[in-house]
């Protein structure tokens, strides 16, 4: 018993996820993590807001309903006090939530609230950002701090958006694609973090 390592701040899973003990994950059975994802303290993921009406195609094809509420890819980074909340709407006369999907290498800044329908890969969302319900963010998008993305907005690839409401203010340059990689950032947190590469 003496050889048991001390309890760290993070729970590190077999697939490399680092989940802070102080994070609030509701409905964990409905949350899919792709691996190597960092969830910092005070993050909230609302996995309990699961789809209440099954779409006709999936219920007919497979007997077991697909209950994923939040699906997150690899190397995502959810900063402190951010919140992921599946979007909801009326569908065939009844209110239902829809799954929130997130690609790889997605950075979510501190105190941001995400209610998007889908977020692509290599997306950087700044601090205190609000992403409205059913917004779609494609790949290689940079959302600057304190942006408010209205519901149902579609943001095409290689956009830089800012403002309330969000508008496209620029394009991600060709040389800026590598800056979205979060592999190095992943290594800097956890129970035995490495110093950032200089």
């Amino acid at each position: 018993m003496s050889r048991r390592p001390p309890r760290g701040e993070y729970i590190e899973t077999d697939t490399g996820n680092k989940v802070a003990r102080k994070a609030t994950l509701v409905g964990t059975q409905n949350i899919m993590l792709g691996g190597k994802t960092v969830i910092q303290p005070e993050v909230m993921i609302r996995g309990d807001l699961v789809r209440s009406i099954q779409s006709s195609s999936s219920s007919s094809s497979s007997g077991t309903p697909n209950n994923t509420a939040v699906a997150i890819g690899r190397y995502c980074f959810l900063s402190r006090a951010s919140c992921l909340r599946p979007p909801g709407r009326f569908y065939k006369g009844a209110f239902t939530y829809m799954p929130l999907r997130m690609g790889d290498h997605v950075f979510v800044g501190p105190s941001s609230v995400i209610q998007a329908a889908s977020i692509g890969s290599h997306v950087h969302i700044g601090a205190r950002v609000v992403v409205g319900e059913f917004a779609i963010i494609k790949d290689y998008v940079r959302v600057l701090d304190e942006t408010v993305i209205p519901p149902n907005m579609v943001i095409p690839s290689f956009s830089i958006v800012a403002g309330q409401p969000a508008r496209v203010i620029g394009e991600v340059p060709e040389g800026g694609h590598e800056a979205f990689e979060l592999r190095d950032l992943y290594k800097t947190v956890g129970n035995n973090p490495q110093p950032p590469a200089s």
């Binding site: 709407r89 009326f90 569908y91 065939k92 006369g93 409205g132 494609k138 790949d139 290689y140 408010v148 209205p150 519901p151 149902n152 907005m153 579609v154 943001i155 095409p156 690839s157 290689f158 956009s159 409401p165 508008r167 496209v168 340059p173 060709e174 040389g175 800026g176 590598e178 800056a179 200089s198």
Partner: protein, 579 residues
């Protein structure tokens, strides 16, 4: 004051006309550097703003061996697409439909948020798009609603019968719900009238046109038709001033010339040239005459009664598609209540060419949904990146307070910065740095590069490093002197730290004091930012390229060829404390 993150900007050589296209091989003599030293680059010069770019924005031409910036490359549009529905728009549609999305993608005229189609009968949060059985009933109407500011198209009296093809429906509706003729319908109506024939029908139509407020498009169509008929029949209005009239506005030849300018036809129509004689102007509404309504009293009373916030801002007016649904040319939207939904402007994917050799240096995949690039020659994979870190040395009286990046710099107190150069190429680099001893500008700070010449090892495979990790740990990283604070000192001519493909060196800076003569001068914007210009010259040995045989002196292909690249960059280190 906003904290300043250290930055590195690189100067594109395109602003220097002498160096444009100059091959920078090893054969070029060092005299080029000699004259560059004489006129050190001034980052505060007004022109400098246009040539300084962060490394990510720069591309690199492999044939010219030169940096290319967004300002000097030439762009070619590969694909047009709507940023909202992400559908590709073929360029043939572009000519006929304009550069806006013709599906159902609209922006709110008030807040530019996206508009969504919502049925009016159903509860507001229920998009009837998904209720096919109810959509069939004739009484269901639809409106565009902004989910950000709750603007609705019913506010300007626009409702739709169908939830799809909103763009086509909107083109037929004027604000307030009145119908608006499309160009095709207008033509058909005219044809109908002419078929009926007779003066009576014409008179009736002109009366009707005058009565129903001729809009901008109808007026233009009428005028165009009228002038075309005048051109075809030059003798209709011949009043004897044919020789004079040829110079004036009312002659068919000058008119046809003007028309040709706008329609892009041939400049000189030989048929028109032979025809001389003046034309008359439009005199009826049917011919496009529209009396200007100079009575603006109703508009003025409306302005009196309305709030400032009710009037449209210039950005809101600018985002409106031109001449869409305006009744008069003078009736441009002044109030928020007359703004129409804005169809999304199309976006493009563009490929980029080198301005000198015309080679493509960046080419995205044509499909809208893919983010891959066929060609992407970015400067970041050819020239070393420079990162800046503030070094806090423990002073003589105990350890220094931890310096945070973005802290203000104390004037006249030496500070040390660690510059880390990272080599992206697979050859070892020889770097030579040059910086003026004093920064240009009114407040010269002293700059000393402690190690102006060093080599950086090649960017080898990541796995090699992983295998050699243990060796590196003993040899490379051992230079990190952070642990032993007693030996913690900056040495001249020594590399501070070295890694697999990176080298850190120290730059010592004595910031200038920002003392101003009282009452005479004020600090200009960002004059307290400490920026140091630095000349970077990199040399490396590349495989002898077959194409570059012209520059080589008949050496073997296997033999390594010496390459050289030199450029100015600007290091923004921080703000100097005032007072």
């Amino acid at each position: 004051m906003a904290p300043l993150n250290p930055y590195t900007y690189i100067q594109c050589p395109c602003s220097d006309s002498a160096s444009l296209g100059r091959p920078s091989d090893a054969t070029s003599p060092t005299s080029a550097d000699g004259d560059e030293e004489d006129n050190a680059f001034d980052p505060r010069a007004p022109r400098a703003n246009f040539s300084l770019y962060p490394l990510e924005y720069l591309l690199y031409c492999e044939d010219c061996h030169q940096i290319r910036c967004p300002r000097c490359i030439t762009e070619e549009i590969a694909t047009y697409f709507c940023p909202s529905c992400l559908f590709e728009v073929p360029s043939s549609n572009l000519k006929s439909e304009g550069n806006r999305c013709t599906r159902s993608c609209f922006q709110c005229p008030i807040c530019i948020g996206p508009l969504s189609v919502t049925s009016i009968e159903a509860p507001p949060s229920d998009p009837s798009l998904l209720v096919p059985d109810r959509a069939g009933t004739p009484h269901t109407t639809y409106s565009l609603i902004c989910s950000y500011c709750s603007w609705s198209s019913t506010e300007i009296g626009i409702q739709f019968d169908k939830p799809n093809s909103i763009h086509a429906q909107l083109a037929k509706i004027r604000n307030g719900g009145a119908s608006r003729l499309t160009a095709k319908e207008r033509k058909e109506r005219r044809k109908e009238l002419s078929h009926r024939g007779g003066e009576a029908a014409l008179a009736a139509s002109s009366e009707a046109a005058a009565g129903q407020d001729m809009d901008l498009e109808t007026q233009f169509a009428n005028l165009k038709l009228f002038y075309n008929s005048q051109l075809a029949d030059p003798n209709a209005g011949d009043n004897g001033f044919s020789s004079l009239g040829d110079l004036g506005f009312s002659s068919p030849s000058s008119l046809s010339r003007i028309m040709n300018l706008y329609t892009g036809g041939k400049l000189h129509d030989p048929r028109a040239k032979s025809k001389l004689g003046a034309m008359r102007e439009a005199i009826t509404a049917d011919e496009g005459l529209l009396e200007t309504d100079l009575d603006e009293s109703s508009l003025i009373t409306q302005l009196h009664q309305s709030d400032f916030l009710d009037t449209a801002s210039s950005t809101q007016i600018c985002s409106q598609p031109p001449n869409l649904g305006e009744t008069y040319i003078y009736g441009a939207a002044r109030f928020n209540s007359s703004l129409r939904p804005v169809p999304y402007l199309l976006r493009t994917k563009r490929s980029k060419r080198c301005p000198v050799c015309r080679h493509i240096i960046s080419k995205p995949e044509a499909k809208v949904q893919t983010t891959r690039f066929r060609i992407r020659l970015v400067a970041g994979s050819y020239i070393p990146s420079i990162t800046i870190r503030r070094l806090n040395l423990p002073g003589p009286n105990g350890p220094a307070a931890p310096a945070i990046l973005g802290d203000l710099l104390e004037p006249l107190k030496p500070v040390h910065f660690v510059l880390t150069f990272k080599n992206p190429i697979f050859e070892s680099l020889k770097v030579t740095l040059g910086a003026p001893a004093k920064t240009p500008g009114r407040f010269p700070s002293k700059v000393t590069v402690l190690c102006p010449q060093f080599d950086i090892d090649a960017n080898t495979d990541v796995w090699d490093e992983a295998l050699k990790e243990n060796d590196r740990e003993s040899s490379g990283r051992s230079r990190r002197r952070a642990g032993t604070e007693s030996q913690f000192q900056v040495e001249v001519g020594k590399i501070w730290e070295r890694g697999r493909n990176w080298v850190s060196i120290i730059v010592e800076v004595v910031p200038a004091s920002l003392k101003l003569e009282p009452g005479r001068d004020v600090l200009k914007q960002d004059e307290d930012v400490l920026e140091i210009p630095m000349f970077v010259r990199i040399e490396w040995e590349a495989e002898g390229g077959g194409d570059d045989a012209a520059s080589g002196t008949g050496r073997d292909k296997d033999q390594k060829e010496k390459k050289e690249l030199a450029y100015w960059c600007v290091l923004g280190l921080g703000r100097i404390k005032q007072g």
